[in-house]
C-alpha cells in the first residue's frame, strides 16, 4: 500500500559498485489518522444537519376598499376558539351572541378532543382562531398546530373582537 517495493528483484548489483543502504519509505501514519479523526469529530459536532422547521401561513389578501367584508361561513359549521391568558382556551360553536361558551386547555384531552369530535360530526368545519392580547405566541402556534394535527382544512387567524365575545369570556 503505502510502502514502495524496496527489495531488489533480479538484476543484482554489479561488482565494484558501492552498496548504498536503502532507507525504508514506510511512514508511520498513526498520528495522521489521529489528526484526521480529530478533525472529523470536530466537523461532525459543529455541523448542522437539521434545518429549522417551519409552518407556512397564508393570510388573506387585505383589500383596503373592502374593509370588514370577509368571507361568510355558515354558523352551524363554524367554531370559534378564543385564546385567553394563562393558557386558557374559550370556544363556542355558532353565532357569538347565542352560543354557549366553554373553557378548555391545550392538552390532548382538552382542545384536541373537542375539535376531533366536532370535525367528525360537522361537515366542512371552519375554525376561527382569535388570540386575545393576553395570549402569547406559543398559544397561537399550538392552536395552528392543532389544525394540522386534526386535519381541519379551513381555519383563519382573526384578531378583531366583537364586544359580546369580550363580555362573555370575562364571565367565564
Amino acid at each position: 500500500m503505502a510502502e514502495l517495493d524496496t527489495s531488489q528483484k533480479g538484476g543484482g548489483h554489479k561488482k565494484g559498485k558501492k552498496k548504498t543502504k536503502k532507507a525504508s519509505t514506510r511512514v508511520d501514519l498513526t498520528p495522521m489518522v489521529d489528526l484526521g479523526f480529530l478533525l472529523v469529530t470536530f466537523f461532525m459536532l459543529t455541523t448542522t444537519f437539521s434545518k429549522p422547521q417551519t409552518m407556512e401561513i397564508n393570510m388573506p389578501v387585505k383589500d383596503p376598499t373592502e374593509q370588514g367584508k370577509g368571507q361568510d361561513t355558515k354558523a352551524s359549521q363554524t367554531v370559534t376558539i378564543i385564546l385567553g391568558e394563562n393558557n386558557k382556551v374559550f370556544w363556542f360553536k355558532g353565532l357569538p351572541d347565542t352560543a354557549n361558551y366553554s373553557t378548555t386547555d391545550y392538552s390532548a384531552k382538552g382542545l384536541r378532543s373537542i375539535l376531533v369530535d366536532m370535525n367528525k360530526t360537522t361537515k366542512d368545519l371552519v375554525c376561527i382562531i382569535k388570540p386575545t392580547d393576553k395570549s402569547n405566541y406559543r398559544n397561537v402556534v399550538d392552536a395552528l398546530d392543532e389544525m394540522s394535527i386534526i386535519g381541519i382544512k379551513r381555519y383563519a387567524l382573526v384578531s378583531d373582537f366583537i364586544p359580546i365575545e369580550t363580555e362573555k369570556i370575562k364571565n367565564l
Partner: protein
C-alpha cells in the same frame, strides 16, 4: 519436551487505509458543514408537528424576543449591502464604507435606523454586549415595514421567516403580521421546533 517455536508476527498495522477513511470523512464533513449563523438573541421557538424545512438561502428573518423586541436580518453579503444602500437613500443617512462592510457581516440587528450608524461604528465585541432596543413597529413609526419593503426590493426572492419566542405576547406578533400584510406579504413562515405527531 521440544518447544514449539511460534513465529513472531509484526504488530505493525498498515494505517494507510484507515487514514484514507479518516480523510474521506473529513472532506465530506468539511464540504457539508454550514456554521450556525450567530444569533444576536436567544429565542426559544414553540414546537409544532410541521416538517416543512426552511430553505437554505434567500431568507429574511424577523426575530421576536420574549420581551417583544423585534430584530431584522437578511442573508447574503451582497444583498445586505444593496439593502443598506436603499435604506440610506430613503432615510437620507450616509454610511461610510466601513459601516457598509460592518452591515454586510451583520446577520440580524435590532436598532432603530437613526441609531444604526452608531451601532455599526461599534466593534463586533461591543455590538454583542449591548442591549439592542429592537426595531420600531408602532403604527406611527413602523421601520420594520420599510426594512421589509426595501429588503424585497433588494432581492425579490426573499421568503420571510418569523422566529418568535414562545412566551412573546401576542400583540407584538399581531403588529408584525399586520406590518407584513400592509406590505402585501401574505405568505410567510413561522420557525418552530419539531415535535412528534400525536395520535388522534
Amino acid at each position: 519436551m521440544p518447544k514449539v517455536k511460534v513465529p513472531r508476527k509484526s504488530t505493525n498495522v498498515d494505517m494507510t487505509a484507515m487514514c484514507d477513511v479518516a480523510f474521506l470523512l473529513l472532506t465530506f464533513f468539511m464540504l457539508t458543514t454550514k456554521f450556525k449563523a450567530d444569533e444576536p438573541v436567544v429565542v426559544q421557538t414553540p414546537k409544532s408537528i410541521s416538517e416543512i424545512k426552511l430553505p437554505d438561502n434567500n431568507i429574511m428573518s424577523i426575530t421576536i424576543t420574549k420581551d417583544g423586541r423585534v430584530y431584522y436580518g437578511v442573508d447574503g453579503k451582497y444583498n445586505r449591502e444593496k439593502l443598506l444602500k436603499k435604506i440610506s437613500d430613503k432615510y437620507k443617512i450616509q454610511f461610510t464604507e466601513d459601516e457598509t462592510y460592518a452591515f454586510s457581516l451583520t446577520s440580524a440587528f435590532g436598532v432603530p435606523i437613526q441609531k444604526l450608524k452608531l451601532y455599526l461604528d461599534l466593534t463586533p465585541l461591543e455590538r454583542q454586549n449591548i442591549q439592542q432596543p429592537g426595531i420600531p413597529i408602532d403604527s406611527t413609526n413602523n421601520e420594520l415595514g420599510d426594512w421589509i419593503m426595501q429588503g424585497r426590493l433588494a432581492n425579490p426572492q426573499y421568503s420571510i421567516a418569523i422566529r418568535g419566542d414562545g412566551d412573546c405576547p401576542y400583540p407584538v406578533i399581531k403588529k408584525v403580521i399586520a406590518t407584513l400584510q400592509a406590505k402585501n406579504v401574505n405568505k410567510f413562515n413561522l420557525i418552530t421546533n419539531l415535535e412528534a405527531k400525536p395520535k388522534i
